[in-house]
């Protein structure tokens, strides 16, 4: 039998995890293009970006020349061109979700505004990249690609609009498009009226991809349209938004009233019965865009948490140095505040959440890199069968999801038990592979955005608090207070938390995803069998509990007979989405550490490998326990919370109560035996001082069993925390932070 607690004398963490460890964890150790990208982005982040922040560049809402100079740094370092394909002026081949996520991560390590500025440029180009015509792609990507001797043109993305004083709604557009002129045999000229709100990059954008709705019977539905600064009419950048955060990104409320040719409709159009029919409505465009870019936003918050580790250790360790009474060599001098368990344990919580978030985010980014080519193959396969987009594709895919589930079930079996021919056929079918990958991505993406930013923000507050009063000053090393405030915006933009929860509540009940989820439970059990110290067993048990609860809630009703799991019952669906996020993050963290354990062994990592893996394993265990606790709490609340509490007032609920004289008789036979219950009726008809009889778990025995098992799975988690705390006291950190303060 495996011991769940590794021996006490394990190696400790010698230095903070370096690039070699991160490249293995996040699976780009074989991608020198990405390794180079990381180095060049890091040089910008910890160079010009950090200097600008340290020099007070954040203290104005205006887009200053100093902020604008960062765009040139982005161009020179390859950040701008990372979005483009080589033939468009870029230098990275293939899908770029992981690459863009790494950029966001590195920039946000120092300042999230700079990261947002970079992401928003890519976001502005995304509609063209994802859905543009070939001509549009060739023209605008070339405009936006930096090249020597050429002025780089910048993009912005305008979706949200001001609906006066009642908020914004991405599903309803007020931006209007109408036909201004339609010369005989010529191209229609469109008049676009759009007011944007909180539009990033508007301080300097040269062109904008804007979402608009038809205000003309000769144009169908909605679309996205490209607006250029030189177009006839008004291209007003608007007043800078007085936001309190992310001041290194430019945000304003622009106004556009422009005439543009119809060829600017993203993805082109056709003329049907004298009517302009855009190839893609705005929803189809933004769906393709946001599902990818949201991952980077989630990773920004995780970067901040991990960036906080080094400054916090230094602050805690050096806290009392310099005082005449604290002599070198004394525990107070060497460890400072790290002598206090609370300090190291809280730091471990922050670190574990940062690791889990990063693992989840990079897993999702890699999944989109896998999905991009599969999606193209799927589109081609559907086209071959004469199936276009829209509902016909949805119906077809729904029909084939049964086969995707079959594939996943076969995948979970041992190779020898599979129907090999059938398995090979399903594996080679792009539609099946699309359904499987898309089913995961549709859950992982909102989970990354929701959990990394939402819970990450709470942990950033914790990081700030661990700096004491210093934390809330401009002088705080690592700009922690800025990072804390910025993360609040990360939780909001590109779809606030409620939007992500809503998406999850629908995608997580997709049967293809749930089939995959069941195999993940087995995977975690397998990891637990060989590496129990990871907490994989805990995660597997928590996943089981979550799955049971979901199935229960989908069929159960509340005390009033109303269905529990339904679209509008967000008190049920949203907490289940939250619980799932904890599980996904913890699972991703464990998978990454297991990959590191396998691939980094045998001298691949030259020194300190054992200690690093042991420490990261303990972090997994800490996080797994925390995730299990959250899941158990949420599931218990939902399973029991909608049951009416039994009451003494209802005679049917008192039917199982003992009578006082019965207990007295029992007591006379076996002294002390009456203590097993407090549910009895006294001679005067009164009851014990509580709300009513205890709840009978009729039909919930499985839940109780799973919950009880999960509680037991927490064994060893806090021992892992103690070990990791030892490492935090011993780990060698750099002499100074590698960016200015």
């Amino acid at each position: 039998m495996h011991a769940t607690t590794p021996p006490k004398q394990q190696e400790f963490l010698k230095t903070l995890p370096g690039d070699d460890i991160r490249q293995l964890l996040w699976r780009f150790s074989d991608r020198f293009d990405l390794q180079m990208l990381v180095q060049s982005v890091r040089a910008v982040a910890r160079g010009p970006v950090a200097r600008l922040v340290a020099n007070g560049g954040r203290n104005t809402h205006e887009w200053t020349p100093e902020k604008n100079a960062l765009l040139t740094d982005f161009d020179n370092s390859g950040i701008t061109a990372a979005f483009m394909d080589p033939h468009e002026g870029g230098y990275l081949e293939g899908p770029k979700n992981l690459a863009l996520s790494l950029i966001a991560f590195e920039l946000a390590w120092v300042d999230a505004g700079a990261a947002t500025c970079s992401l928003a440029t890519h976001l502005g180009l995304s509609p063209i990249h994802q859905r543009g015509t070939k001509e549009q792609k060739d023209y605008y990507m070339n405009l936006a690609a930096p090249a020597p001797g050429k002025v780089t043109k910048r993009a912005a993305f305008a979706l949200t609009e001001p609906i006066p004083y009642v908020g914004v709604e991405t599903g309803i557009l007020c931006g209007k498009i109408r036909i201004a002129e339609w010369p005989e045999g010529g191209e229609p000229i469109l008049e676009v009226n759009k007011r944007g709100r909180f539009i990033t990059n508007m301080g300097f954008a040269d062109f904008v991809t804007a979402a608009v709705e038809s205000d003309d019977p000769r144009i169908q539905g909605t679309c996205m349209v490209i607006l250029e600064e030189g177009d006839p009419g008004i291209f007003d950048r608007g007043v800078p938004t007085r936001k309190l955060v992310m001041q290194l990104s430019s945000t304003s409320d622009p106004v556009f009233q422009l005439k543009v040719p119809a060829s600017r409709i993203v993805g082109g159009y056709s003329v049907v019965n004298g009517k302009i029919v855009p190839t893609y409505d705005h929803g189809a465009v933004i769906e393709a865009v946001f599902r990818r870019t949201r991952v980077g936003v989630g990773l920004m918050t995780s970067a901040k948490l991990l960036s906080a580790v080094e400054p916090l250790i230094r602050y805690h360790r050096d806290r009392f140095r310099g005082s005449g009474v604290v002599v070198p060599g004394s525990p107070r001098y060497e460890l400072g505040l790290q002598q206090k368990e609370d300090v190291t344990h809280r730091l471990l919580d922050i670190w574990a959440v940062g690791e889990a978030g990063a693992s989840l985010g990079f897993l999702t980014a890699r999944m989109y890199d896998e999905l991009d080519p599969i999606e193209k193959l799927k589109d081609a396969a559907l086209a071959e069968q004469g199936i276009g987009g829209g509902m016909s594709a949805v119906k077809y895919l729904r029909k084939r999801s049964v086969e995707a589930i079959e594939f996943l079930e076969m995948q979970s079996h041992h190779e020898s038990l599979r129907n090999k021919a059938r398995y090979a056929a399903l594996e080679a079918d792009p539609v099946i592979q699309y359904l499987v990958t898309d089913g995961q991505a549709n859950v992982l993406c909102p989970a990354t955005k929701l959990w990394n930013t939402g819970y990450g923000n709470k942990m950033m507050r914790e990081a700030v608090s661990l700096m004491g009063g210093y934390g809330i000053t401009e002088d705080c090393p690592g700009f922690l207070s800025y990072k804390w405030m910025d993360s609040q915006l990360e939780a909001t933009y590109e779809g606030p938390e409620a939007v992500q929860r809503r998406q999850l509540s629908m995608t997580m009940i997709n049967e293809v995803f749930l089939a995959q989820f069941r195999t993940w439970i087995h995977d975690m059990r397998r990891v637990a069998a060989t590496e129990p110290g990871t907490g994989a067993c805990t995660v597997a048990s928590a996943m089981h509990l979550w799955l049971w609860t979901l199935e229960h809630l989908q069929h159960a009703k509340d005390a009033d007979g109303a269905k529990l799991y339904q679209s509008n019952r967000q008190g049920v669906t949203f907490p289940m989405a939250d619980a799932l996020c904890w599980l996904l993050a913890s699972r991703a963290q464990i998978l990454d550490v297991e990959h590191l354990r396998r691939e980094g062994a045998g001298g691949v990592i030259a020194e300190g490998f054992e200690g690093t893996v042991a420490f990261l394993t303990d972090l997994c265990h800490i996080q797994a326990a925390r995730a299990a606790g959250e899941v158990a709490r949420i599931c218990s609340e939902l399973v029991f919370g909608y049951m009416r509490h039994p009451s003494w007032d209802r005679s049917d609920e008192c039917s199982t109560c003992f009578k006082e004289e019965e207990l007295q008789q029992l007591e006379s036979l076996i002294p002390g035996a009456s203590g097993f219950t407090s549910e009895f009726i006294r001679i005067d008809g009164s009851h014990d001082s509580k709300a009513g009889p205890c709840v009978q778990s009729t039909g919930l025995r499985d839940f109780t069993r799973l919950r009880s098992k999960l509680d037991g799975c927490l064994a060893g988690a806090l021992l892992a925390k103690d070990r990791a705390a030892d490492s935090i006291q011993k780990v060698m950190i750099p002499a100074a932070l590698d960016y200015p303060q």
């Binding site: 010698k14 230095t15 690039d19 060049s40 020194e607 300190g608």
Partner: protein, 267 residues
């Protein structure tokens, strides 16, 4: 005139790291040395940027960088350096850092240079830093030159220009903040650079991609290079002592502060 410019450049631990000398089975080293991120030695970096400038102005010139260090660290450092300019890497997989013996290092570098296919000494300009950021022995480049039979050697170089007649005009640092200007009729020559006058070139990712496509296989095949551990013995190694004496003053003119510092230095 086209030159074969060969830049000798080693690695140094990132200076912001905690550099704590420890005794290892093979002699002195740094605590957790293999885990510390490295940078391209800044003195060699100046030499490399000057090489890039010379190559740009002398069509047909080529740049090769010969670097001795642990293979994994070389790869890490090249991720940054390779994005600056086009060059070919000749990687020697061996010990780096500040405790290697300069004689052994110079032999390894000279042997690697001499073994470069197509190496033509008559066109060779051997560049490097006049010292290193690790220990600053300041003798490796001279010994590399001697081993290659190149006796025209210039130390602490700040500027190199090529006359129309092909002569090399070289500005070396000498005592008293002055420069000595020399004229060397032609290659070969060894130039051990001080800071030069060129900034770090901006990144060019496309150059980096092109470089790394060639460098990655070269790194995989890097020649294992052992140095003689018995060639040098250290009696003691220690970091310079850091002292801090603080005095609080108010409204003291800058000139007075400068005078006080100057007096302290003269003590």
């Amino acid at each position: 005139m086209a030159y074969q410019i060969i830049v000798c450049g080693g690695l140094a631990p990132d200076p912001l790291q905690t550099l704590e000398p420890v005794t290892t089975p093979t002699g002195p080293g740094l605590k957790n040395e293999l885990m510390l991120p490295n940078v391209f030695d800044p003195w060699a970096g100046h030499a490399l940027y000057e090489a890039a400038n010379l190559a740009k102005n002398q069509p047909g010139s080529t740049i090769k960088v010969v670097s001795l260090g642990p293979k994994a660290k070389l790869q890490q450092v090249m991720m940054t350096v390779a994005q600056k300019l086009p060059f070919e890497l000749i990687a020697l997989d061996g010990p780096g850092g500040g405790f290697t013996d300069a004689v052994s290092v110079s032999k390894a570098l000279a042997d690697a240079i001499a073994a470069i296919p197509g190496f033509d000494k008559s066109q060779a300009l051997i560049f490097g830093g006049w010292e290193s950021a690790t220990r600053g022995a300041g003798v490796v480049m001279q010994m590399v030159g001697e081993r290659l039979g190149i006796t025209e050697q210039f130390l602490a170089v700040d500027e190199l220009t090529v006359d129309p007649d092909g002569a090399l005009v070289i500005k070396e640092r000498v005592e008293g903040g002055k420069h000595q200007i020399s004229k060397c009729a032609a290659a070969p020559a060894v130039l051990a650079w001080a800071t030069g006058s060129l900034p770090e070139p901006p990144n060019h990712p496309q150059t980096g991609m092109a470089n790394m496509r060639v460098m990655m296989p070269a790194l995989q095949k890097a020649k294992p290079t052992a140095l003689d551990p018995a060639a040098i013995a250290y009696a003691q190694v220690a970091l310079p002592a850091v002292t801090r004496q603080t005095r609080i003053v108010k409204d003291v003119p800058a000139a007075d502060i400068a005078a006080e510092i100057a007096a302290w230095i003269k003590q």
